[in-house]
């Protein structure tokens, strides 16, 4: 069963038209010695009903956020996804289309992605957004190399210690071989140590990257970071949480030259880490250095408004080794999810979600920090996520929570090292994230479970 149309008679006719006796004849261009003998060792084929039973059995051996109660954070969150997001993105006309290279046959995707770019510009307060990157970490990495090209500085990049440590690794993977120094400023009280940060920045710094809220959920003084960057002629890259902008100032108003985000919170399911959405927006002056696809508005021959892939001379299929990035396939369908999500939310919806997360997270922080033995890791202000610590290993609390059906974390020792946190800190601290989906009752029961 390979979704084939062949009938014996048609196959014979087709072979006759081609002028060969068999399909094997067509395969003779593959040297016989290189052909695989016999069949591959793959598990047996399943009919739809068998596949459904097989997958349901395995899915039942996994428990996700819909059956457990999820207080997990660390860059992926159990936010509510309105039904319209799945309905729209479930349309075959969208999800079975290719990259919109033929504009006349792709106006649906092109306009949706143009709207995505427009919404991201509104969200970030910046001038230009691309049409998506893979996910938050590689978006940071792309922003860093974009800053290196824009400033023509290769010496170093400086990351605030609150940048997600997996993203720090991604940046290291991408730039260390250029000889570029990746400097990380330590955290103090869970936020960037600005004095230490200032010492790391010099006239060879291409960019400073600050994440807000940071990996511990704490709010950073983004304006101070951007002022420091601009003093030294470096760019300021702000990694933001899209939903936080329902209440927080936009990156563009806080001095960001480039803003990037993990877009998972915009209507994208958790699905064990991907596909998610890499968001990247910047000021107008950097548009020709942007990685990835850009959709532009234009007119057709009759003067009718329409949309096309624009400024493609930056891209790999034209520029090859001189391209601004190697990205080709992006995250189109995830960008569409974010577009529909933001359209459905509107300004009020966005504000309410951000406020609900904030209210509930603050209630949870109060409640959980009152559990004997537990306290907040940092006193810094936060939005929807915070770190707790105690004199016990974090796994002690996590095990208790899990036994009662709650997921909390990640424990900080599950992530790569964070500068400014000792090994002991990392073993003891864990994150708690509270989305609009959690209720007061969930929080009270979690507190009770940890207290027991």
């Amino acid at each position: 069963m390979a979704y084939l149309f062949r009938t014996p008679q048609q196959q014979t006719e087709m072979l006759q038209t081609i002028g060969v006796p068999s399909i094997d004849e067509l395969l003779t261009q593959i040297p016989a010695g290189l052909q695989h003998r016999g069949l591959l060792k793959l598990p047996p084929a399943l009919t739809e009903i068998e596949l459904e039973q097989h997958v349901r059995r395995l899915a039942a051996d996994s428990d996700g956020a819909s059956t457990r109660t999820c207080f997990l954070g660390g860059g992926a969150y159990d936010h509510f996804i309105p039904s319209v997001v799945d309905e729209i993105t479930g349309r075959g006309e969208f999800y079975t289309a290719y990259t919109p290279y033929q504009a006349e046959a792709s106006q649906g995707s092109l306009q949706a992605f143009f709207e995505y770019q427009s919404l991201i510009c509104e969200l970030t307060g910046l001038d230009v957004s691309n049409a998506s990157l893979y996910e938050g970490g590689s978006a940071i990495s792309e922003a860093v190399t974009m800053a290196m090209r824009s400033t023509d500085r290769r010496g170093n990049v400086v990351l605030c210690g609150g940048v997600h440590p997996e993203a720090v690794q991604v940046v290291q993977t991408h730039v260390l071989h250029f000889g570029t120094d990746v400097r990380v400023a330590p955290l103090v009280n869970g936020v960037t140590d600005h004095a230490a940060l200032a010492k790391l920045v010099d006239d060879q710094t291409a960019a400073i990257v600050v994440q807000d809220p940071n990996v511990l959920g704490a709010l950073e003084d983004v304006a101070a970071v951007s002022a420091l960057a601009h003093q030294q002629g470096a760019l300021c890259i702000v990694a933001f949480d899209p939903l936080s902008l329902g209440v927080l100032k936009r990156p563009g108003e806080r001095g960001a030259d480039i803003a990037v985000a993990e877009g998972q919170s915009l209507g994208i399911p958790l699905q064990f880490g991907g596909p998610y959405l890499g968001v990247l927006a910047c000021k107008n002056e950097f548009v020709r250095k942007l990685p990835g696809r850009l959709i532009g508005e234009t007119v057709d021959r009759n003067g009718k408004r329409c949309f096309v892939l624009n400024l493609q001379a930056r891209e790999q299929h034209i520029r090859r080794e001189k391209a601004t990035s190697n990205i080709c396939t992006n995250q189109g369908l995830m960008a569409l999810r974010a577009t529909v999500y933001l359209a459905q939310m509107g300004p009020q919806g966005l504000r309410e979600v951000a406020e609900l997360c904030c209210q509930k997270a603050h209630y949870a922080a109060e409640k959980l920090a009152a559990v004997p033995g537990l306290k907040r890791f940092s006193t810094a202000p936060f939005l929807k996520e915070f770190a707790l610590t105690s004199d016990k290993p974090a796994s002690h609390w996590q095990t208790k929570a899990e036994a009662a059906g709650f997921d909390i974390g990640p424990c900080l020792n599950r992530l790569p090292a964070i500068l400014g946190m000792s090994a002991v800190d990392r073993d003891r601290a864990f994150l708690v994230a509270v989305t609009e989906c959690r209720t007061k009752d969930d929080i009270d029961r979690l507190a009770a479970a940890l207290q027991s």
Binding site: A2, Y3, Q11, M14, V20, I23, L26, Q29, I30, L42, P43, L46, E48, L51, A59, D63, G64, A65, C70, L72, G75, A76, E93, T96, Y98, Q102, E104, S106, Q107, F114, Q117, C121, L123, G125, S129, Y134, E135, G137, E166, H177, F178, Q271, G273, G274, G296, T298, R301, K304, H317, I318, S325, T329, Q331, G332, L333, G346, Q348, G349, Q359, P381
Partner: protein, 491 residues
């Protein structure tokens, strides 16, 4: 039925005060925002998003969807893209609880079922590649290329060798040189033989002790199997270099021959192509890589490991290889797409995989044969899963270019082939029908091409004639880039 009303932008549909989603009031004791967040961080108002009702949103996007061609609605013979049917069962299964709602930082004990699926996928990818170690982290083919090149760099560094060059044929996808440059290598482009194949003599001339990797797409972008692939691999291996197989065209050879068996040391898959991802209007994809045993310690983590206890209890876990290059992205990988690939491979089984490749080859050769009297295919007597026709002759004779044929095909209800790629064929029309199309569809497509070639050249210059828009002005788009709407949010 397509709605012929003028298409508006979301911003033009907006009216102040309209809403779609609403939320319950907070069920916890509420504080004022100013008590929780420093005033200097707070926005005075939320971003100026459009204000719409849910019916607005739904009608808008459903109507937009009807302006697309897609595999569900049209024959889509876009060469190099493998636009095969996307089975509907995949969509339902990928959304099951226990799969779609698993948080990346859940404990492994609570996601054994999902890890079992991903482990089996890892094993199947290794078997189809003939390469034993697999990383499923890369989000797309290009990221797979980059990952493999970084793995190669780490391997050579570990051996104390400093190799600076990556070699690739002129017909390579643009991502190959772009990935090599980003991985810090010098790019060496290799001329092809007159038949469009790897030129072994040219290869011998450039490969030396500084050559790290030869990147090659096999079958190549002409849809032909490289006859000298084994000899080319030998040249690299003799010089201590590695061979990278770009797996963009795996649909032609899965189950028939394996990159690991024809000399590849590393490869990437495009799960969204070969294993019917789907394409999602430009992604997401998944670009897992397979490598030889001696490279496995350098793979990005995590990968899934399986342990069987003495009592037979199987446990799956996430581990990072000892000398890992680090991460190329956050979290595990594009799991949603990998799962669809898994469902596909479990549906097909070994025979189905081979059947799919054979039928893809049959369909491509049939279409090539039917078009042969009217459209020249300069390279190759028989092709594999795709072929590259050239409109050079009809351009000379009738003034009809590849672009005009492509655009006019849209009027006939067929998506255009890939045009002007690969660069080695002038006026290229690259056609990949895939295995999930019928003879009737191929015949109808060929008939449309025949009809177009008899049409008036001036008429074709203005094609398409029946689509929602006529040809857009790329010049105006580039000269005066408009990359977002001008807000016109209304009261």
């Amino acid at each position: 039925m397509r709605n012929t009303q003028a298409v508006q932008l979301l911003s033009e549909l907006s009216h102040t005060g309209r809403r779609a989603e609403t939320f319950p009031a907070a069920d916890v004791p509420a504080h004022s925002l100013a008590d929780m967040i420093p005033a200097e961080y707070l926005a005075s108002q939320p971003p100026q998003l459009p204000e719409l009702t849910e019916p607005d949103v739904v009608r808008h996007y459903v109507n937009l969807s009807t302006l697309n061609m897609s595999v569900d609605t049209h024959f889509y013979p876009l060469g190099s893209c493998t636009m095969k049917y996307n089975p509907k069962r995949h969509e339902r299964l990928a959304k099951l609880p226990g799969i779609v709602d698993v948080h990346p930082y859940q404990s492994a004990a609570n996601m054994q079922g999902l890890l079992a699926i991903l482990y089996e996928m890892q094993e199947m990818l290794a078997e189809i590649a003939g390469l034993p170690a697999v990383s499923m982290q890369p989000a797309a083919g290009a990221q797979g290329e980059l990952t493999a090149l970084l793995v190669a760099a780490a391997y050579f560094r570990d051996k104390g060798e400093h190799r600076t060059k990556v070699v690739f044929p002129a017909s390579a996808h643009g991502t190959n040189p772009a990935s090599a440059a980003i991985a810090g290598f010098d790019c060496i482009q290799l001329p092809a033989t007159a038949n469009g194949f790897i030129d072994l003599d040219a290869l011998r001339k450039v490969v030396d002790k500084d050559t790290a990797v030869f990147m090659v797409t096999n079958p190549n972008t002409l849809g032909l199997f490289e006859p000298d692939i084994a000899a080319a691999a030998q040249i690299l291996h003799d010089a201590g270099g590695l061979v990278y197989i770009d797996g963009a065209n795996m649909n032609a050879i899965m189950g028939i021959t394996r990159p690991g068996d024809f000399g590849g040391d590393m490869m990437h898959y495009n799960v969204h192509k070969t294993f019917t991802g789907p394409h999602g209007a430009g992604g997401p994809g998944a670009g897992p890589i397979g490598v030889r045993d001696f490279l496995k310690d350098y793979l990005p983590g995590p990968i899934i490991t399986k342990t069987t206890a003495v009592d037979g209890q199987v446990t799956y876990d996430l581990t990072t290889p000892v000398k890992s290059i680090g991460r190329v992205r956050t979290h595990f990988g594009n799991v949603g797409i990998l799962l669809r690939g898994y469902f596909y491979l479990r549906t097909l089984g070994a025979q189905g995989v081979r059947d799919a490749a054979e039928q893809a080859i049959l369909n491509a050769n049939y279409l090539k044969a039917v078009l042969a009297p009217i459209l020249n295919v300069p390279m190759g007597k028989y092709c594999l899963h795709e072929f590259v026709a050239s409109a050079s002759d009809v351009l000379k004779a009738r003034g009809i270019s590849a672009m005009e044929i492509a655009k006019r095909l849209l009027d006939f209800g067929f998506h255009a082939p890939t045009v002007y790629f690969p660069l080695v064929v002038p006026e290229a029309l690259m056609m990949e029908p895939t295995e999930t199309e019928s003879k009737e569809t191929l015949d109808a497509f060929a008939a449309a091409v025949a009809k177009i070639l008899e049409e008036d050249a001036a008429f074709l210059k203005n094609a398409p004639h029946t689509l929602p828009i006529s040809r857009p002005s790329d010049v105006q788009a580039a000269r005066n880039p408009v990359l977002k709407w001008t807000p016109c949010l209304r009261d």
